[in-house]
């Protein structure tokens, strides 16, 4: 699953009364969120140095098997896009003025990682064996 990169104007926050889209505050328990009928969960980075949404994304995608869109919103730094993808995000709203080529290049750096993650649950040692 490739992370979909969205420009700020292409992202609409969940509309009032639309049960298909949920914005989950970053101090909320991702394991307690009702997911019936939900197609998209927006997770929030109040600052890119606040990493709580990475754990929320992991729990939604891996622990709960949520198959819909998990979107990174707020202060999204392109240097975190690979981490976002690995923890289960499927879309990210880029800051205004980001060079998309710079963003795309981040995905070409590492051919693999040591740990398993939300997308590739097997760690490197299991694949190498």
């Amino acid at each position: 699953m490739m992370l979909k990169l969205l420009a700020a104007q292409d992202h609409q926050p969940p509309a009032q009364g639309d049960a298909r889209t949920v914005a989950l505050p970053n101090d909320a328990d991702a394991l307690a969120l009702p997911l019936d009928g939900v197609e998209r969960v927006d997770l929030h980075f109040p600052s890119f140095t606040d990493g709580r949404a990475f754990s929320q994304a992991f729990l939604l995608r891996r622990r709960r098997g949520f198959a819909g869109d998990i979107r990174a919103t707020g202060d999204v730094l392109i240097d975190q896009l690979v981490q976002m993808q690995r923890t289960g995000f499927s879309s990210a709203v880029l800051r205004e003025g980001v060079d998309v080529a710079d963003a795309q290049r981040q995905f070409e750096l590492f051919p693999g990682f040591y740990q398993g993650d939300a997308v590739q649950p097997q760690p490197h040692f299991a694949k190498a064996a």
Partner: protein
């Protein structure tokens, strides 16, 4: 030591490429200073008082001679400030009395990393490429992420070892490296692991402390401590698991860190370490971790459960190297010849007693090369010394060395019959001070001469005490003692755990020093891990050496037969030491408030 696979090597190279990409965007104005800072920190790049500082990771302290040579090259070619930068630093620190600032050198740290103080950021990407050429890097040596895992400098060779911690440390290194979920934690996160009866890794003082143990059935597992740390609020870790099967360690640490990532405080950096969460939540935190661990195993399937085959692959890297050219000597004959050399050369005898450690292989010894000597800062090595060190490591220790928690370098594979030759060479290089575990084998941070966080300078205090205590007979008489010096409450110099701790504090823009006694890192010598207690209002820099002398004099007056400094402090309490310190204050000077 661990052999880097093609995957491991490429990973480090790509990390250097990624850093160059970030540096280039920052230089081109595409990445703001605020955005770049956390990224460069996670590659070991700080910006300090006058210049950047680079912290290079030395995973669990193991370093090869070829890596030491690259560190020497970096010291020589890159640890060189521009003239204006150096002039500004000398002028700025000169106002405080500093007359010397080391450059073209590397600094060994308590967390077994290596630091450089003068490399311009403009050359940082070149340095990362150079480091990557020998599988060195700065990955997660700073920032609010999981830092370098540390262990016992005698891991794998200690005679009191239960289980060799190095394969586990390497498995932890791999799991922590660029973990996607845990790169932006509330605060930094440090793991230490010990596999011996004596804890030489200060595990109680770490965010996670691990003791390798065997249960009644002989199975290997971990006793897990969580929530230790220094800083403003010194806390000793709490036991969260008495016995965790060894193959569960990554699943369990994942649970510990995930609960911390979700619930650790982010509103106040001084309350953001896991120790505060563990203290605040107590049993609730432990219950949350156990429940999260259960779900990792039962629902996620425990994907990081370590298979025996993977453990064996990693462990195979840590077999003892063959010392091809050195013939074995019958142990009693070896002992007799060392004894004869020690009798003939008194200085060698001292060094043998202090700096040479027993080894699991009776043919071998571990040797500490002391980087504590007058005229150089504790743990500093010049470019030339690093090259000479690399030669010694090649010649006497199968190409492997270890950076120690005490800021020295240990050679783990020295044949007993070569000790005398090694001593002669080390002595010529100034690396044979026979002071290991004595007063002058102190821990000190770089302090206010370099660090932007420091409230006071550490190095002039270290130097003054070193100069005062150069008589080896006197040092031997004072005996085994931990003197730890930090330039500020961040505690990089581990003052909390010193038998004598010195902490730099700032009052009215002047440098003052708080002295604590009775702290412990948790080793057998020091007793159960505990923070030292303050012995009175802070002292001026000029008073500190006199106060230390007064404190040590009190110990020598009061000690009973066989008592170490720490024993005496425990028995008598602080009062006599407080009184002696008070008497040592300089009458003519103003004294600081409490």
């Amino acid at each position: 030591m661990y052999h880097y696979t093609a995957f491991d090597k490429q990973f480090v190279q790509q990390r250097a490429r990624q850093f160059r990409d970030q540096l280039t965007r920052w230089q081109g104005g595409k990445l703001s200073e605020d955005d770049f800072r956390p990224l460069r920190l996670q590659n070991g790049w700080y910006v300090q008082r006058y210049a950047p500082m680079l912290r290079v990771a030395v995973p669990y302290g193991e370093i090869a001679s070829r890596q030491l040579r690259v560190l020497a090259q970096i010291a020589r070619e890159y640890d060189e400030p521009e003239a204006a930068v150096f002039q500004a630093a000398m002028e700025g620190q000169g106002k405080l009395g500093t007359t010397f600032l080391p450059k073209n050198c590397a600094h060994f740290t308590t967390r077994t990393n290596v630091q450089f103080n003068w490399i311009p950021l403009s050359k940082s990407a070149d340095v990362m490429d150079l480091l990557a050429s020998v599988q060195l890097h700065g990955i997660q040596t700073s920032g609010n992420c999981i830092r370098n895992t540390t262990t016992d400098a005698l891991a794998g060779i200690a005679v009191d070892e239960i289980v060799d911690p190095r394969p586990y440390a390497e498995i932890i290194r791999q799991w922590t490296t660029l973990h996607p979920e845990f790169a932006f934690l509330p605060r930094k996160f440090k793991i230490a692991i010990s596999g011996a009866r004596d804890d030489r890794a200060a595990t109680g003082w770490h965010d996670v402390g691990l003791h390798l143990v065997k249960n009644a059935a002989g199975e290997i597992g971990f006793k897990v401590f969580v929530g230790g740390g220094m800083g403003r609020t010194p806390v000793i870790g709490t036991v969260i698991r008495e016995f965790l099967p060894w193959n569960q360690i990554m699943n369990y640490i994942e649970a510990i860190v995930r609960v911390y990532n979700e619930h650790g405080r982010r509103d106040n950096k001084y309350k953001a370490r896991i120790k505060i969460l563990v203290k605040a939540e107590g049993q609730q935190y432990i219950d949350d971790v156990e429940e999260e661990y259960r779900q990792i195993v039962e629902i996620d399937g425990g994907p990081h459960t370590i298979p025996q085959a993977e453990f064996d692959r990693v462990a195979a890297c840590f077999v003892a190297p063959r010392l091809a050219s050195v013939p074995d000597v019958e142990p009693t004959a070896l002992q007799a010849s060392l004894q004869a050399q020690a009798t003939e050369h008194v200085a060698f005898g001292r060094w043998l007693r202090r700096n040479v450690h027993a080894h699991q292989n009776p043919q071998l010894r571990a040797v500490t090369l002391s980087f504590k000597r007058p005229g150089q800062s504790p743990g500093d090595a010049t470019s030339d010394q690093l090259i000479a060190l690399a030669d010694l490591v090649d010649h006497y220790s199968a190409g492997e060395a270890r950076v120690t928690h005490d800021q020295n370098v240990l050679l783990p594979w020295v044949h007993g019959s070569q000790l005398f030759a090694l001593w002669q060479e080390a002595k010529a290089l100034g690396l044979a001070s026979a002071n290991v575990q004595l007063l002058t084998d102190m821990i000190a941070c770089p302090g206010g001469d370099f660090c932007a966080l420091a409230n006071a300078r550490s190095l002039p205090i270290a130097e003054a005490i070193t100069q005062r205590y150069q008589d080896l007979d006197e040092l031997d008489d004072i005996g085994e003692i931990d003197l730890h010096i930090s330039g500020c409450i961040n505690s990089c110099g581990h003052h909390h755990s010193g038998h004598i701790g010195i902490l730099g504090v700032d009052k009215d823009g002047k440098e003052w020093y708080q002295v604590t006694l009775g702290g412990s890192d948790g080793s057998a010598l020091s007793g159960a891990a505990v923070a030292g207690k303050v012995i009175g209002p802070s002292f001026s820099a000029a008073e500190v050496p006199d106060v230390i002398e007064a404190v040590l004099g009190t110990y020598r007056d009061l000690r009973e037969s066989g008592e170490t400094f720490q024993n005496t402090v425990h028995r008598t309490g602080l009062d006599p030491f407080k009184e002696a310190a008070k008497q040592a204050r300089h009458k003519e000077q103003e004294t600081a408030a409490a």
